[in-house]
Subunit: 161 residues, 2 copies
């Protein structure tokens, strides 16, 4: 086997608050020259107007979509013909509240049920899915403890948090 190479995959976004809980977000993928307009909102029960999906809907869709895309890419790589592909996903978080204090977030975990229509043998389908898990950027970001850095603009300039 040859030497491993690494290619950067970079996404950028500019987001601005709009309305009560709505955020308008432009996401760029500079390497591909593509941009998308996305928005998030919250239900009225959380002070929003339900004008767009909540942020957590995007996380669940991003995880399921990433795994499925990788299953198709690995099917091409291993030359395994697959027909329909379905995933049922479940994401569980906890909102922890102590009276008088603001809520805190915790994550219980994610569960993905995968169905692949293929004439290939079970062992081949299994190998395909394991390769897709290793290739899925979102699964890596969730299962590894990754760094989320913040800078906040204050009166005297940018403060690293």
């Amino acid at each position: 086997m040859g030497r491993e190479r690494s290619h950067d995959v970079v996404f950028e976004a500019q987001a601005v608050s709009a309305g009560r809980m709505r955020n308008d977000i432009t996401v760029h993928w500079p390497q591909m020259g593509e941009s998308w307009q996305l928005a998030t909102d919250e239900p009225p029960g959380l002070g929003g107007d339900s004008s767009a999906p909540p942020p957590l809907a995007y996380i669940v869709a991003g995880l399921a979509g990433c795994l499925m895309t990788n299953i198709r890419m690995m099917a091409a790589h291993f030359e395994v013909p697959i027909e329909e592909l379905r995933v049922a996903a479940r994401a569980e978080w906890e909102r922890r509240v102590t009276p008088g204090a603001p809520h805190r977030a915790a994550t219980r975990g994610f569960l993905l049920d995968i169905e692949i229509d293929s004439d290939a043998e079970d062992a081949t389908v299994l190998r395909l899915v394991e390769a897709a898990r290793d290739g899925c950027f979102v699964e890596d970001s969730l299962t590894e403890a990754v760094q989320v850095s913040h800078r906040l603009k204050l009166g005297y300039g940018w403060q690293e948090l």
Copy 2:
């Protein structure tokens, strides 16, 4: 301070492949009785048709949106008036390739630059943002190593991976 209580926050999704790299995804938030239709695709360079944002665009939007939503919720909690709120986000992954083998995913990290228009003192704004980080479900899911479980339907039934 009173006893801490925990409330479940559960999202479910059903996703089906459609087209070359496209996935059509229905996301439900049962507790709120809301659903959204989302789709993912890839650029032509990756075998897709660019008919929808790629999964990683949803992850970046979900992270930025979640933090911003929490900043607004914490502003309400702490009774700190804020005007406009802007976030610039950057997400960096690596696609690792060894010749002949399928790609593997790695995550470098996420960077969020936060600008808040507020007459409040710097220390108050800082406290607000720190509370928002603790309250952000997406930041928790990324910075903690969380469980992503899979079940794959094989010829003999469901296999846990």
